[in-house]
Symmetry: C2
């Protein structure tokens, strides 16, 4: 399969659906975005939603469509088994699930087994194409990549293949604590990001003791008026991102860690990593199309 | 003030209101419980609710009423400043807030400053009377007490005074993760408690890495069908209680830790502590009346 076929690249996530029509060198010719994440699509309706939103693009002769993200989950278009690590372009290409042979395929997520005693599994869906896209755009084929978000991913890449990764529920725990816990009651979520307070939280998270204890300080520092309601979200964010970074050391990362995500989040992770003297580089989140283009070229 | 005065002991919490009329030796003569926690009482209405529910008891000649719990919080009857640690009966007695001098008083909560670099404050309201009640009923005046719950407390008592304590948000994080997070979606919360799976979670929490990562295994172990939906809550509970205990060691506890709380929770903590070879003894939660009785006798 060559990259000269018109490629329709789709990122179908939990809450949003994005697509791009790519040119022969991978450039974006046209893109579309819809609030039609998989949670909004009734079972059995995925094909018709796809046809409605992207059917015109698929009429181009020889069009190939690759779809990554939660569309391949049990709640999506069709469950696509995870591709086990180590995995690179070749393994992803072998594990594509063809909805229409040679024409429309779901890209599998990745799974790995942890290095712990029970080999606890871990999974991702959608991030793998960002990772391969970023590698494609860089000159490195071995790196540690960090994709902050609701479920933050720490990914080891060696020789162009993902060998191991770990998920941290940092973003989801932040959302739960600030929206649903007692901590939210004294917190002003509209408060502007406060870098100094954020780094206080990072420092506190590196002290001995459990994050389950450190979290309660978000309440008491407010009660004792040591922090204002507007400062508390920055402190909570520092505590949780600091907890995620707690077991990382500068010596474990002789090469800079590559950060990929939204601007707001990569800023926070950059601040925290620099504070802990772990070198890092920040990339934009937009490697999805490059990853799908490279996959189409390779498979 | 002597214990020969009739004592009305009240525990006015966030979601419930309990009261007991005590005899001259502290025995419970009569008790009442109402779903009238402070969250159900409009500002300014605390006195009339109290009169309505306990006014008859207060007509006894010389009646004294002590009220502990969240009634002394900013959202309660009247804000009662925390009594700073170290604190025993004498300090609590000095810091009572008299709503009617010599007749009705709010018992203050306790505050302490952490041993960390920032001396982060910690607080409790209501647990202090349980702690002093338990000490009153035991032969020890120095101990580590653990009060598991929504906000679990680890309390150091020396010479009959609370010298230091730490709050862990274990119970609240369990509730948030099982009810509001992605983990809840694959979990059967009606599943019976599974001791072996719970201890697997405890073991996992003692491994290297962050609880923010270990939590995600509740999802993947379900996805990979290594655990059933009914087993996942036991695993999550083991992970979180194990995280709370992670920094405790047998050598730090030559004397048994005293556990006070509901039967279901003290069972889980007993299992986890024994698994980690930390000696413990379990007491019932019902030391509140003994604590208020001892406070009335001492003040």
């Amino acid at each position: 399969m060559s990259s000269t076929r018109p490629l329709i690249a789709i990122d179908w996530g939990t809450s949003s659906l994005r697509g791009a029509r790519l040119g022969a060198s991978g450039q974006v010719l046209e893109s579309r975005e819809f609030p039609r994440g998989i949670l909004t699509v009734p079972p059995g309706q995925f094909e018709s939603v796809f046809q409605e939103l992207f059917g015109d693009w698929m009429q181009a002769p020889g069009a190939l469509c690759l779809i990554s993200g939660m569309a391949g989950s049990r709640q999506g278009w069709q469950e696509t088994p995870y591709c086990p690590c180590p995995a690179g372009f070749a393994e992803l290409g072998q594990h594509l699930l063809w909805l229409q042979p040679g024409r429309i395929a779901l890209v599998p997520g990745l799974s790995c087994l942890g290095a712990d005693a029970l080999n606890t599994p871990d999974v991702m869906r959608g991030e793998e194409v960002q990772i391969f896209g970023a590698l494609q755009m860089s000159d490195r084929d071995s790196a540690t990549l960090v994709l902050p978000g609701t479920h933050s991913k720490w990914v080891q890449v060696q020789g162009g293949r993902v060998t191991q990764f770990q998920t941290f529920m940092t973003g989801e725990v932040f959302a739960l604590m600030s929206q649903h816990s007692i901590l939210g009651k004294t917190m002003d979520l509209q408060g502007a990001f406060d870098e100094a307070i954020f780094l206080q939280g990072v420092d506190q998270s590196q002290q001995s003791g459990s994050v389950l204890h450190h979290l309660f300080a978000v309440r008491t520092l407010g009660l004792f008026e040591r922090l204002s309601a507007a400062q508390l979200p920055s402190y909570l964010s520092g505590l949780l991102i600091g907890e995620e970074l707690r077991h990382q050391t500068a010596s474990a990362h002789p090469e800079p860690v590559i950060l990929m995500g939204s601007e707001a989040l990569t800023l926070r992770y950059t601040l925290a990593l620099q504070h802990l003297r772990i070198p890092c580089q920040s990339r934009g989140a937009e490697a999805t199309w490059a990853g799908l283009f490279a996959l189409a070229s390779a498979c």
